[in-house]
Each structure stands twice: as C-alpha cells, then as structure tokens.
Amino acid sequence: MGQRQDTHDRRNRGLWIGLALPGAIWLLVLFVAPFYVMLSVAGGGINEFFQTVVPVWNPLHWSSWNLSAVWHDIVGHGAFIGPPAFRTFLYTAIATAITLAIAYPVAYFVSRYGGRRKTLFLVLLIAPFWVSYMMRMLAWIDLLQQGGFFNSALSFFGLPGNTNWLGGKSVTVILGLVYGYIPYVILVLYAFLDRIDQSMLEAARDLGLSRWRTFWHVTIPLSKPAIIAGTFITALPMLGDYFTNQLLSGAPGTTMIGNVIEGQLGAPGETGQGAVLALMLLVVLLIPMTYYVVSTARTSREYA
C-alpha cells in the first residue's frame, strides 16, 4: 500500500464509484426508502371509509395516533401485545442458549479433533444448511403428530404416548427454533474455532494446565468473538420469527411478536399500528445490530 497506489485509486475514482453505484442505488431505494415509507405509514392516518392506509410523507405532519394506539395495546386495559412480546424474548433467550450449548461442542470437536474425517463431518454438518427451513419443520410435524413416530417411540419405552405435541406446547416451539437455526450457528462457530492457533493450546498443556483449565482459560477467551457472533446470528432472526410457532403449534398461547406484526399489517385499518410495532422492534434491535455491524466492519478492516 504505497503512495503510488493512492494516486492510482484517486485517478480511477470515477470507475470505483460507477462500479458501486448500482448496488448503492438498490440499497437506497429498496433498503433505506422502505423504512421511510414505514415511518410515513406509522405517522399517517387511515381512510375512515375504506379503512386503507393514508401515508403522510412530511415528517412535520406525522401524528402519534398509531403510536398511542399501540402503546395502549401494550400496557393499557385489555393489552394483548404484552404477552407475545414477553414470550418472544423468553423463547429467543432459551432457544439461543440451547443452540449454543449444542453447537459449541460439536463445532469444537470437528475443528480440533476432526482429523482425517473432517471433510465427512463438514459434509454432514453442512447438509441441513441446504435443506429448506420449511422441509425441516415439515419433517418434525410428521414425527410429532398424534400416532407419529415420536409418540410411538415414547410408548415403546413405557411413557405416555398420546401427547399432542403440536397443540400449542412452548417446548415444541422452542425446540423447533433450535432445530431451525442451529446449522448456521455451527458453521459460524466452526469457521471461528478452526482459526484458533493450536500451538496456543499445546503451550498451555505443556505448561501444565489440565484439559479443563486449558479449555476455560485459553479456548473460551479465544472463542469469545465466535460465541458473540453465534448469539447474534441465532437471536436476531428468532426475534422476527413468526412461522415456526405457526407450523408447530398454531395456538394463541405460543404467538410471538412477529405474528402480531403480520396480523396487524393485513388487518384493515390496523396497518399503521403494524408499522409502529415493526418500528418498535427495529428500535429495540438497533443497538445489538449496530454493535454487530461495527465489530464485523472492524474485523474486515483488520484483515485488510
């Protein structure tokens, strides 16, 4: 990276801008603009007669009518948004914890002890990544239905085998979330753990640390970025999930915030409130998302 290169870059600036332009326009028109429309719908009104949305484009004229309606639904009398919102964070927290507890040992084992069979392990770990989410849920619906294999297996071992697992059980939804998102996490964890310098671990062992203490004092600190990245890539999509609970339960007792947003968006006269709720979720997620984006950008700059 010398002076000469800088002048090269400067002279060709027009070319670089030209190359970046189509992607930049696409992002501005279809990523930034949509959220402005969302704000305009949230701050807009409705056509009383047709019950359709009337967006207000000027920020100075935005009303807080939808916002107060949603706020009333969250904390007011007969609030119906509170329980799904609480459930969303609870499910996400439990499912993320279980996902990491399963994914970490698997990724750790394959990256450190995969040996000659590493390619085989990787094929098997990547396989679910290529199976669509819908099919993986469909497979569990087949297994968990009444008279399905899971109940048969339970009664084979003398346990009650007539449970309706798909009838609105939180445990089914949480395990469905784990099953759905775990392949991505394992791959991300593996990519990080595989880069840990083995000689660090050997040094720790040579200096007399036991297996556990090596793991605790060397491996865990070194894999902190992997755990953070894994937490983000599981938790963020889970917070916006609305289909896993629909597929595996469909009962009102397991709805999440995504279902409320989706429902309001399609309901006549409530689109604006759906927009407000989506924006609220976005605001809550903005801090973790920014943290993740900044740390990702920093890592890629360090590599450069």
């Binding site: 090269h8 060709n12 930034v32 949509p34 290529w130 399905g148 289909f243």
Partner: protein, 313 residues
C-alpha cells in the same frame, strides 16, 4: 476428563511429534480422543438428519400415512391424478415459480453485488464506508422487518413495482446482495493489489486489468456466492410470502406453509419438499465441484476448504 486433573501429568517431551502423542501414551494422556464429545457430535448429526431422511422416505409411501410404511410408490410425484406434484397445477406452478425467482435473483444480484464489492473496496471514502455499513445492516436485519417495509414500499409508494414476481425479485436481490458483496470483498482483501499493478505496469488499462486479471482471480468467490444466492432464494419464505400476490406467484416454501394445517395431503407436501431439496443439493454439488475446479491452481485446497468456501466462510 476429570481423571487427569489430580494426577501428575506426564509431560510429553517436545521433540516427540504431535501425531504420536495422540493415542500411544498410557493412562492420563492429555491428548487422548474425547469420546464423550465425539458421541455427542454423532448424536447431533443423527438428530439433524434423521427427521429429514424419514420425510423423504415417506414421500415415496404408497399410502397417505406419515407413520406406517405401505410400500414404495412414486404416485405423490407423478402418479396420482389430482394431488401429485406433476398433476396438481398449484404444486407444479410452485416448482416453476421457485426456479424462476432463484434464476432471476441470482442473475441480477451477483453482478451488482460483485461490482459493489470492488467499488467499495477501492473507493475509500466516508460514503463508501457508509454504504458498507448499510450493506452489512441488510445482512443482519430480521427478515420480517425488511419484508414488511418492502411490502409498504411497493403498495404505498413505488406502486409500479407490482406485487408478485417483480416485487419478489427486487426484494430478494436486496436481501441477498450481502452474499456476493461480503464474500468477494473478503477475497479481494486476500488477493491484494500486486497482480493488478503488474498488469497496469505492463500497459493494461484499469478496466482491462479488472476484466483480465481481477475477475478471473475472483471467480471462485463469485461462483460460491452465486450458488449461495441461488440456494438461499430457493429456501426463502418470509419475503416471498409477504410480496407474492396470487397463487401463481407463490413458490414452494409458501405453498408448503399454507397447506401444513389442512389442505393438500402430507405425502404430496413431502414430495414437494423433496424436490426443493434436490434442487438445492444439485446447486450445492455443482458449487462444490466448480469451486474446487476454479481454485485448482491455489495451494492445496482440500475438500474441507472447498466446503467451507462454498458455505461462504
């Protein structure tokens, strides 16, 4: 594991090669294979693959049951008059729509994303940093929020982008643009600038150097990202569900979702899901072979590296 803690550890001498350390040392060997973890890994693999294998198996079931095997048959694919994938218009429309969306999205998304990555990497300024942030944001935002925002955009503002295939493709491109952008950018960084400079010193124009030197070097990354965009579009559900209009613009994932609770019978849905799986696996296989072939000259790329390369890491 605990057994080694209390005992005085026999420190292996340094000269001894690592390979021999792994198994030969008597009890208390700190380098022994962790059987517990290996068993756990295999349990995980079984848990992750067995349900899918059973679903595939039962798509070939003669009866409509999902739990009792009644003999092999392909009637849910081609045989049955009304409810097989071949004969049910809704089902085979969904297959076609999925393929149309995947091809269109890949063809539009990959060139834009690659050009974006090169441009952002070289045009170092505040603006390019901002655009880079924006691109990574599009990668981490929950899909539902983006889908809802895009739905409002095309219904309230840019109504010339009609719901259905146009809106679906426009949205899938923006949702997937981070794959080529991130993967190609990482590759650009690892290639460095020397090849391009050599080409420039030898008299190539800047554009010529990009076309003749940089693009061939980027080919494995471009190819891997194309495979990922294709597969992720086949798998996509949230965006296409929000932005599809009539039944004709519903791809396979949406059709499966809306028929799970009642509607089409189980084996036909399993057959549809199996077709979806085959499409993804063919893409993955092409990707794996192509990636190995394209990066054949470099170091000794093993299978493991090609696999992680194709998975976008």
């Amino acid at each position: 594991m605990a057994s080694t803690v209390g005992q005085p550890t026999v420190a292996p001498s340094r000269a001894e090669p690592v390979v021999q350390r792994q198994r030969r040392l008597p009890g208390g060997n700190p380098w022994r294979r962790p059987w517990g973890m290996e068993g756990f890994t295999w349990l995980y693999i079984i848990w992750s693959i067995l349900p899918i294998a059973i679903a595939i198996l039962f798509s070939f079931n003669k009866g409509a049951s999902q739990a009792t095997w009644q003999g092999f048959s392909t009637k849910w694919y081609i045989g049955k008059q009304v409810t097989s994938v071949l004969h049910n218009p809704g089902l085979h429309h969904a297959v076609i729509q999925t393929l149309v969306l995947a091809v269109l999205t890949t063809v539009i998304c990959v060139p834009i994303g690659v050009a974006f990555a090169i441009g952002i990497d070289r045009w170092r300024s505040r603006t390019s940093n901002g655009l880079n942030f924006l691109m990574i944001f599009s990668f981490v935002i929950p899909e539902l929020l983006l889908a809802v925002a895009l739905f409002l955009l095309v219904t309230q503002a840019l109504t010339f982008i009609r719901l259905g295939t146009p809106a679906e493709v426009a949205a899938l491109v923006v949702w997937n643009i981070s794959w080529p952008a991130i993967i190609v950018r990482a590759r650009l960084v690892s290639i460095g600038r020397s090849y391009e400079e050599a080409a420039a010193d030898l008299g190539a124009s800047r554009l010529g150097a990009i076309r003749r030197v940089l693009i061939p070097l980027l080919m494995p990354a471009i190819f891997a990202s194309a495979v990922l965009v294709f597969a992720s579009t086949v798998d996509d559900f949230v965006i296409v569900e929000q932005l599809s209009s009539t039944a004709n613009t519903q791809p396979m994932s949406v059709l499966i979702y809306s028929n799970v609770h009642g509607g089409l019978s189980g084996p036909a849905l399993n057959a549809l899901a199996t077709i979806m799986l085959v499409i993804s696996l063919v893409a993955a296989l092409i990707g794996f072979i192509g990636y190995r072939w394209m990066s054949r000259g470099e170091r000794t790329k093993g299978g493991a590296e090609a696999l992680t390369g194709i998975a976008g890491m």
